[in-house]
Amino acid sequence: MPAMIEITNAEKSFTMHLQGGIRLPVVRGVSFDVNAGECVVLSGPSGAGKSSILKMIFGNYRCDGGRIGIRHAGVVIDLAKAEPREVLSVRRATIGYVSQFLRAVPRVATIDVVAEPLIATGTSRDEARGKAGQLLHRLNIPERLWALPPSTFSGGEQQRVNIARGFISDHPILLLDEPTASLDAANREVVVGLVGEKKRAGVAMVAIVHDDVVRRLIADRVVDVTSFAAVA
């Protein structure tokens, strides 16, 4: 199995110019690989930098140093140094990201929020909506809500919409930031099932999961983030 993600000595800090230029080190020496078909769970206490590492892998946070190797369209691209266009192309075709909170455009119907990533990569609107409907159905979002924008939904419903949007594409890499945080037991089980299907399809995943049961069920390997603590 080829490594889909190869992270070597990545580091990140924040310089807070509005707070007198304080430098907040976040992580340093981040190094691990993720193979196709495996789910790596990041562990560590709150504030250890787990979400920051996911954002670095997604190209959302810019690294201060190190390398984020991503296998994209047959070659390895260093996302820490990639041009904006390359990062966008990697996100379109290779890396999916399920964030903790849904950031949806006002006024867009739930079914279209979910279908959008597929449409963006060339799937027809009808086919994308069909697949979106199946996922929403599995995640127990009743059909009468599909035409409504998700902004009025409950936290758990929004998170399930977000999961559907993240899982709809066939990206070979998937990043999951607390995908089950506000879900009930039945829906947690659905997510565990979806993660299992992605593994069988050869998707490489990095996840942050606080729920011990879910972690045991999906983790092939645990990477302890405290070992990357950057000391000021």
Binding site: H17, R62, P84, L88, V105, R107
Partner: protein
């Protein structure tokens, strides 16, 4: 083969700015600005008033001659040309067909006293359409696309609300299928609810038509929703640039951090 050619074209820059500068007397409104815009890419230029972003937009769209540097544009024949070297006919072609320009004030981009249908149809006639029925049909389908009731096709934009006028201005600009659209504070002056609708509409049109766009805005939420990349301007210079979510979620420069921290939470 056609697909391969268009893929190759997408890999070539559409608009190139090199060392652009504009001085008014001793005041430098823009200094040393360079960037490349690719087909289908949406670039937001953000900064407060007086930062030089509107001057930059005028330089890029050949409405103002630069004091320094060049702007080049890839014409439909695939050749990258310096805007300063274009003849009058070529410039007219760009303004009438290949480019759109959406003004903050729709009254600047529309003819307020003629009908909505004529406002849209006029751009088609300028590129040689002469069949009245087809022009009206196309105008009508564009009104639908921008969510204007086609029963209002014969009314003048004077009688339209602010949000409708702005949507009509967008229809007028897009009817000739331009490859590049310049937008100057496109949602400025509109109610928040109207803004959301307009943003959603513009976002869909830009992605469906594969448009490239340069959007000047002081509203970071507009930049977040519409753009792939952002350039932050201050004092006539670009101080930070990158993917929109990178710059907004992980701003590096003091001024960008100030801008981002000044957004009220929704």
């Amino acid at each position: 083969m056609a697909d391969m050619r268009s893929a190759a074209q997408n890999d070539q820059p559409l608009l190139v700015a090199e060392g652009l500068g504009k001085n008014y007397g001793r005041i430098a409104a823009c200094r040393d600005i360079s960037f490349v815009l690719y087909p289908g890419e949406v670039l937001a230029i953000v900064g407060e008033s007086g930062s030089g972003k509107s001057t930059l937009l005028q330089l890029l769209s050949a409405q103002l001659a630069p004091s320094a540097g060049h702007v080049s544009y890839r014409m439909r024949d695939g050749v990258l040309r310096d805007l300063a070297s274009l003849g009058e006919a070529e410039r007219r072609f760009l303004f009438r067909t290949d480019w759109g320009f959406v003004h903050q004030d729709p009254a600047q981009g529309l003819r307020m006293a003629v009908s909505a249908g004529a406002n849209v149809g006029e751009r088609l006639m300028a590129v040689g359409w002469d069949h009245y029925g087809r022009i009206r049909q196309t105008a009508s389908s564009w009104l639908e696309r921008v969510e204007i009731d086609t029963a209002r096709i014969d009314d003048a934009p004077r009688t339209y609300s602010g949000g409708m006028r702005q949507r009509l201005q967008i229809a007028r600009n897009l009817v000739t299928e331009p490859r590049l659209v310049f937008m100057d504070e496109p949602t400025g002056g509109l109610d928040v609810s109207v803004q959301a609708r307009l943003l959603d509409l513009m976002r869909n049109l830009v992605s469906e038509l594969g448009l490239a766009a340069v959007v000047v805005t002081h509203d970071l939420a507009v930049a977040r929703l519409l753009s792939h990349r952002v350039m932050v301007m201050k004092g006539g210079q670009v101080i930070e640039t990158g993917l929109t979510d990178q710059v907004l979620d992980d701003p590096h420069e003091p001024y960008t951090q100030l801008l981002v921290s000044s957004i009220l939470p929704p």
